[in-house]
Amino acid sequence: MAQLFDIRCKLDQFIAERKLDKITVYGDIGLKAGFLVSLLRGNTPDDEAKLLKFRKAAQEVLHMSF
């Protein structure tokens, strides 16, 4: 439970550490993954397909595994 939200949190931390533009990074990843990252909450139900797409998109955009 909350794996998607967990990845979002790691992503936020990564963005904050590198002082990246959060909106642009969310946009790039969201467009690649096919959903809105900003809407992920703690109660967002996990979905294997979404998790896979999320990780893959983040990897492609930031060259970083989450």
């Binding site: 936020d12 969310y26 946009g27 809105l36 809407l39």
Partner: protein, 438 residues
């Protein structure tokens, strides 16, 4: 490859092709101009030659007519008194030689009585070389005048060159006593032609019409180099230009048309010359030689070349400028607006839902921007609904605990506020990506 890259490639390719085509046209025009100049030079030289020929023949015909009525000369010829004939004519010959360039002053014996169809005549006197006489000379004009007994003129080959000649029968007391011939070496024409036209000339003769040994002997006596082997079938008999090497023609005279033939350009030092030849026909209609025309076209050549280079540069600059303007316009009208839309799309998806797209122009892309803005509003509305759905259990729980605060009417107002915002121009959506506590 991006559209921008493709467009730049197409524009650059078009520029290159355009420059190549225009360069080809300029080059063609330049060559035509040079060829036209060469052609005009050849035509002018031919006309000058023809005028000189006509003037010379007229002058010689008049001289022959005057001599025909000279009783002293005619009587000496009739008596076969060579010494008296020489005495009577040598002063006249020298005068004509100096004034008019007459090089041939001959008297011929009449053919033996009863003989017809002779191919030539026996020489009685040569004013320039009185010791040389009594030889039989076979020439078309001599045969013609012997046959017709009337005035004949034309170009004919001698031992060492071509000459325009006029031959007429001479009568004494109504009886034919011989023939009188005067002629002008064609080599002398070249200097006159040079004075008239400013071009340089060379006289080419067919070797087949010449005697090799006599030619070499003549050249040696003139103190000139033996040039018999310089060309294959032709011989440079006379020229007005200092350098003989430029006046060579490797082709065959048989292939040269009557109007003449251009031989192209040749660079000699800093000068550029156009070359050409036109043929010479003997009185018998045989192609016996040609006049080589050398015209200094350096000024025309440089002018045409400069025009071509400047024109090409101007076209290249103009086309490059056009290409740059096209690229800038394309970038401003299409590429920059598309990139802006892409940025907005990313930011909207990234959570900046209130980033509005205002159509930048009333054109095709402006319509697309408008469509994109409508699409954004639909997305925002959809997101608002999803958030409302997510928030509903919370509202219901709060209604159960605090029914007076979170009334159904308030819940409706909240939803309506969300919808209002999603359709509004000023975006204040509650689901805008905000801080999330991880």
């Amino acid at each position: 490859m991006s559209i921008k890259g493709k467009i730049i490639a197409v524009v650059a390719g078009s520029l290159l092709v355009g420059v190549a085509v225009i360069g080809y046209l300029f080059d063609r025009n330049y060559r035509l101009q040079v060829a036209r100049t060469s052609d005009e030079t050849l035509r002018a030289s031919r006309a000058a030659f023809e005028n000189l020929r006509k003037d010379s023949v007229d002058m010689m015909a008049a001289a022959v007519e005057a001599m025909a009525s000279n009783q002293e000369i005619n009587a000496a010829l009739a008596r076969r008194d060579r010494a008296q004939l020489l005495k009577a004519t040598s002063r006249l010959y020298l005068s004509y030689h100096e004034k008019y360039g007459i090089t041939h002053w001959f008297y011929w014996e009449p053919e033996p009585s009863g003989q017809t169809g002779a191919n030539g005549l026996v020489n009685f006197l040569r004013a320039a070389t009185p010791d040389k006489h009594g030889d039989m000379v076979e020439r078309v004009m001599l045969a013609r005048v012997a046959k017709t007994k009337t005035f004949a003129n034309g170009l004919e080959m001698g031992i060492t060159g071509l000459a325009f000649r006029v031959v007429a029968p001479v009568y004494w007391k109504g009886k034919l006593c011989g023939y009188f011939e005067i002629g002008k070496d064609i080599g002398n024409f070249l200097d006159s032609m040079k004075q008239q036209t400013g071009n340089e000339y060379g006289l080419l003769l067919q070797k087949s019409q010449m005697d090799k040994a006599k030619w070499r002997s003549s050249r040696a006596s003139w103190g000139k180099r033996d040039n018999w082997n310089d060309m294959n079938g032709l011989l440079l008999a006379k020229n007005t230009y200092s350098d003989e090497s430029i006046l060579t023609y490797g082709g065959s005279l048989d292939k040269v048309p009557e109007a003449g033939q251009e031989l192209g350009l040749v660079e000699h030092g800093a000068a550029v010359y156009s070359r050409g030849v036109f043929p010479l026909y003997s009185a018998g209609g045989v192609k016996v030689g040609a006049v080589f025309v050398l015209s200094d076209i350096t000024a025309v050549y440089q002018s045409a070349h400069q025009t071509m280079v400047r024109g090409l540069l101007a076209i290249v600059l103009l086309m490059a400028l056009t290409g740059i303007v096209m690229c800038v316009l394309f970038n401003r009208l299409i590429v920059a607006r598309l990139e802006r839309l892409i940025r907005v799309a990313k930011r909207v998806v990234g959570g900046e839902f209130n980033l509005q797209v205002v159509p930048s122009a009333n054109d095709e892309l402006g319509k697309f921007e408008e469509l994109f803005e409508q699409f954004r509003r639909v997305l925002v509305d959809l997101v608002g609904n999803i958030e409302d759905e997510a928030a509903a259990p919370v509202y219901r729980a709060r209604l159960r605990t605090r029914p007076r605060v979170f009334s159904a009417a308030r819940a409706r107002r909240v939803r309506e506020a969300g919808r209002e915002v999603s359709h509004g121009t000023t975006f204040r959506h509650p689901v805008q990506a905000g801080p999330v506590h991880c």
